[in-house]
Amino acid sequence: MGKYFGKKLIIYIITFFIAVTINWLAPRFIPGDPVTSLLAQYQGPAAGRQMLETRLRTLFGLEGSLIQQYINFWANLLRGDLGRSILQFPREVSEIVKNNIIYDIAVLLPAISLSWIVGNKIGAMAGENEKIDRYIMPLFYGFVSSPYFWFAIIVVFVFAHSLGWFPTARAYGAGVRPAFTLNFIIVFLRHWFLPFFTMFLVGLGQWSIGMRNMVIYEIESNYANYLRSLGARQKLIRNYAFRNGVLPQVTGLAIQLGQIVSGAITVQVVFDYPGLGRLMYQAVQQQDFFVLQGAFLSLILMVLAANFLIDIIYMFIDPRIRLSYSEEE
């Protein structure tokens, strides 16, 4: 057990180190210098410009050689200091990330978990029931093969523009303040629904198709046939098939997580909905190195943490893993 986690942990630490290094390096290859570009708006005298530039470079940690900057970066990171935003100067990146991450959690967590659960259920049903398979699956193939942004545009067009049921964009409307009131909660939910719905539907297609194929395969497999010949009830066979079919789906979830998060970027952009994805999109456009790093870092941490969680879950649902490690001990 301990060995299993030990191994996993080392892999995660190496992944983290490499990801963070790439994350630090990448923005520095973007052509153009962020401080110069920020100061392009400055209309004052050269001496004042020089003073501002020096001060800004110090505040941003952009002085010194690249190696020096890299070391400083790690030192600050371990202290939890992600630096300051260039564009939203002088706001701290950690604060900006914190303000945005709530929205990711609000949309992604329910969308991913619900689509996974519901998708697996429907997929399992479709694997067994030809009617469901015939009528629902083509629809799901449609969902899964549409890119997130395109699907988001369709959803906006139908539910916001044509039907007018939901607002087209943003986390809450104009003239409304975040507060724990019924009014705000309704406004928030109305705005939250379409981004959630888009992510949910695309995910739903993905998981149900995967599960359907698994179940068809499992139900026709030798152990199922054997069970059947022993006279086991169909429900029992179905349960075994489901339990076996769910394993690759859990692995799939771990692998797909990164892709889902990047899908969230496009959904957030289409709905002008806050979140780390949109934050990164803006940061890339406006060369805000530090926000880009902070947002990316949080995404890395989130994906790694989710993977870790899945590893743990895997141990519980797959007795083989649990047994192989506990036997070694």
Binding site: S37, L39, Q43, P90, N99, K121, A174, G175, V176
Partner: protein, 567 residues
Amino acid sequence: MKSHWKTWLIVMLAVVFTMTFAFTVRADRADTLVTTGAIWAPPSNWNPLYFAPEPGTVGLAYEPLFHYNAIEGEYIPWLAAEEGAWIEDDVFHVELRAEPEWHDGQTLTAQDVVFTFELAEEYNLEYTYLWNYLEEVTALNDREVEFHFDTPNYQEWKQVLYEIPIIPEHIFSEIPEEDLQTISDLSEFAGQEVVGSGPYTYDDATPDRMIWQRVDNWWGNEVHGEPAPRFIEILVTDANHIVLGMVLQEQIDLSNNFLPGTPSIAENPGYNITTYYDGPPYHVPDNTAMLFFNTQEKGLDDADFRRAVSFAINPEEIVERAYEHTVEKADPTGLFGGWLDYRSEDAVDEYGFEYDPDTAVTKLEEAGYTDTTGDGWRNHPDGDDLSYQIEVPAGWSDWEDSVRIIAEQLRDIGLNVEPNFVDFSIYEDNMLTANFDMLINNFTTGKSGTPYTYWDGVASDQIYDEQATQGNYGRYENEELFEYIDLFNRMPDGEAAAYRVAEDIQEILLQDMPSVPLWYNGAWAVMSEVYWTNWPTEHNPTGFPLSWGGDWQLGTVQMLLELEPIE
């Protein structure tokens, strides 16, 4: 397990749908003015000494001595009691009103004005350049200030009067030098973000919006009137199409985004939309979009070539295809609004240009730009290949369309010109460091109280540093012109000599054509009649409907004073 999740999901969806249809949320909205187009990144700075404070910092929170109504072209004494006066050739006198007060209750005095200007003498601030010709600022008493000059730059001074906000000495004198420009707000020194004198103050800023709150006991209520909106909410917007969606859903009161399709929504009464003009061009001009040539490059350093290009471009086609008639083509002088007082008819008659491809071809042939290699493209007179790119920021769709049209038109007369779309930061970097062939820009040609700012913007003499941030991005060098522009700056309005110099400037610009004025970019304003009415229009010229940074004191505060809520 199975049924549990299903039930959960169904209940949740049912709740959301019920709520959606059961309520229409309009509470809190009636006393708020919602605008877009002014902020493109999460708001973060309310320091008037910072070089890019959030829109409203100047105008709503901190106030200059004068406002300037950019549509009417008139100065409005704001903190000042009456129009300032040159009591001597080099002494400008301003008398303050008796009423102005800071938000913390202290009186705004002549000493604050002196402090504001002297701060820039002591430290390097954006307006420190004033001390190149300013000698002394003195407070005669609590209400009177005198500015003494070495050689007054009369024209530039007209802009200073409405651009520099007066700041409270009792607070700003506490801020250490290195933080003066970079600190974001005054919380550390005054316990609140903003201590200005204006009708609004900081209320809240979240990553997606900036909220200004009305100061109910504002000193100006008696003098200027009371603005109706209790809150002004400036939404951060990423993209024009998202704003368009929100306008159609009646969520925005004043959109200052460039909205494709404006004519069709403005002329459809179903949308309750007002624009400044009922018909084309719908918007008031805000600045002149210029085609800059990099005059350090072969071919583009040739005035004959540049003039030929000016005849080959048809701005009417841009107006129609890229803008659906929401802009107007520019005058050959590039001047508009109040600047037209200085427009020289003679200069235009003699050296003006208009779309005429035949003339363009003749001029190119005469100057030796012919196709010597037989590949279908014209060559340089020495036979070298000639090819250029016109650069605009990627994603600025109206400008992208415009340069596509320009490139087409230039290719029609045998010039190998391609459009080039690059990320904004790269575009800006290329522009400031003269690393381009041709580009479209309008950063230094915005409306103002004097044509000096326009001429200084298209032919600034600040072109010898690594970055040219004051305009003249093509680094066109002409000492004679620089001198004329400087001379114009030192002349008071109304002198015959000023008109003569203005004519000389226009003649040189038209003859040498360092940049081509193409069209007037609009002060995009789509106003909604759902929550507010009495918007400024051609029939009701009460102000300027523009919430961009730096514009509030140019007529937008006047608009606020006249707005009326819809019951």
